[in-house]
């Protein structure tokens, strides 16, 4: 652990972060207009289909957060650079929020369309399992006897969680094969209207920028915390 590594965030990055947050805010507003004002109402599913522009980008951003957490965890254990741990921690925190939104929007959308709140297909199962693993990740950090062990143990949790992804997907997929009720769904529809596609693409950009802004915020917070810990150790 080096002192330079845990140095507090410079004033410059603060302005940069604020800018990113503002851009994300503006994009969200435009995206809301596109979703509710610009995109046409889907014929068979009706108004509830507008959740699509929210749900799909949020799901993909959630999976991105898990990939970042796993990557940060591997690099932290190998390199022992606290920056990687901060990235993993920030991804897990933001990831829990995104996974929760993905699960809620998925359920609200599934109820009118499939007449059930939840379907245990491969994607639904994987989303739920990764959400639980992130909760476990945060709990390990909260309950560890000291911060250093919390960092190592949570990294191990994220790595083991990442290794289980293909197994959960395959097992749930085969298991779902025994319950063939589900044949229709949002994935089964034909090509999208041009306005719908444009809105969806814009939503992707919006949520990725929002995600990046939130990660940057949490990362900066963790940097400050690490710096304070460093100072406390130095003072003791």
């Amino acid at each position: 652990m080096t002192t330079a590594d845990a140095a507090p965030a410079k004033g410059g990055t603060g302005i940069w972060r604020l800018g990113l947050l503002l851009v994300a805010g503006v994009l969200v507003l435009i995206d809301m207009y596109l979703i509710f004002g610009y995109a046409p109402t889907e014929r068979s599913m009706g108004i509830v289909q507008r959740l699509f522009y929210f749900h799909v980008p949020v799901i993909l951003t959630s999976f991105l957060s898990f990939a970042l957490a796993a990557l940060g965890s591997v690099l932290y254990l190998v390199r022992r650079n606290r920056a990687w741990d901060r990235l993993a921690y920030a991804s897990a925190e933001v990831g829990v929020v995104f996974f929760t939104s993905a699960i809620i929007t998925g359920a609200v959308w599934a109820k009118p369309v499939w007449n059930t709140w939840w379907v245990w297909d491969a994607n639904g199962t994987l989303t739920f399992v990764l959400w639980l693993i992130f909760i476990g990740y945060l709990m390990v950090r909260a309950y560890a006897p000291d911060a250093e062990r919390g960092r190592r143990w949570s990294a191990v949790t994220a790595i083991i969680g990442a290794a289980t992804v293909p197994f959960v997907y395959m097992a749930a997929d085969w298991w779902g094969g025994l319950h063939p009720e589900r044949v229709t769904g949002p994935g089964a529809q034909g090509s999208l209207e041009r306005e719908m596609l444009l809105t969806l693409l814009f939503s992707f950009v919006t949520f990725i920028v929002l995600f990046a802004a939130l990660i940057a915020e949490r990362y900066a917070l963790r940097s400050d915390e690490d710096a304070i810990e460093e100072l406390r150790l130095a003072a003791a």
Partner: protein, 224 residues
């Protein structure tokens, strides 16, 4: 490699000797398994038709809850009596410690699962004496022990020990549970390799991946 194996067997022998002298863990875990199996009788009022569909589920819920309880105890004695510090100082590879504890957990769980077979027969008229069921059960138990041993080494040092282990362990072990329940149902329906084989392969692949990965990351868990 041979040195690792010898050290692992020494740790395993210590656990077995300790258990043979105290007989604490085996009987408490077995009693718990019996209680879970018995509770289900009243939860479901099982008829023969119902057992044909939910029997494997009952068996595996009982097995996996029992596993959580048994695994929670894996490092408990070590933690309480400071044995872990001694083991950590021992000049043996970290993998040896993991492998030794893993063998103890597998032995404990397989013993409890075997002793539960007559209980399921009596309580539910569910005969599990089936070679494919036993193959599935053994493979799944190895996977349960592989993940469980690693997470129990983390959970034992935390304040929320009893809660943290199942929260970390059960989501990761979900593929095993799905494979074990569905594979067991196929086996009990009289299917051979054609029905059971796919699930068995999935479980064995899980075992291999998590045995290797867990023994690799185990040193990051123990390190002071």
């Amino acid at each position: 490699m041979r040195e690792t194996l010898r050290a692992a067997l020494t740790i395993y022998a210590k656990d077995v000797r300790l258990e043979l002298r105290t007989r604490e863990t085996l009987f408490s875990v077995l009693a718990f398994a019996l209680v879970v199996a018995f509770i289900f009788t009243f939860a479901f009022e099982p008829s023969p038709q119902l057992i044909a569909s939910i029997g494997p589920g009952i068996v595996w819920v009982a097995y996996i809850f029992t596993a959580v309880l048994g695994i929670n105890r894996t490092f408990l004695l070590e933690h309480e009596r400071g044995t872990l510090d001694g083991l950590r100082l021992a000049p043996v590879p970290r993998e040896a410690l993991y492998l030794g504890k893993l063998l103890s957990v597998v032995t404990l769980l397989v013993t409890v699962e075997a002793l539960m077979l007559p209980a399921f027969l009596v309580l539910y008229d569910l005969s599990l004496f089936n070679v494919w069921f036993i193959a599935i059960a053994f493979a799944a138990t190895v996977g349960i022990a592989a993940v469980g041993t690693l997470f129990s080494a983390i959970a034992v040092h935390t304040r929320a020990r009893e809660v943290l282990l199942p929260i970390l362990f059960l989501p990761v072990a979900l593929p095993l549970l799905i494979g074990a329940v569905t594979g067991s149902r196929e086996a009990l329906d009289g299917e051979g390799w054609s029905g059971v084989g796919g699930w068995l392969q999935l479980i064995v692949a899980f075992d291999i991946v998590f045995l290797v990965l867990s023994s690799l990351v185990f040193e990051y868990v123990l390190e002071e």
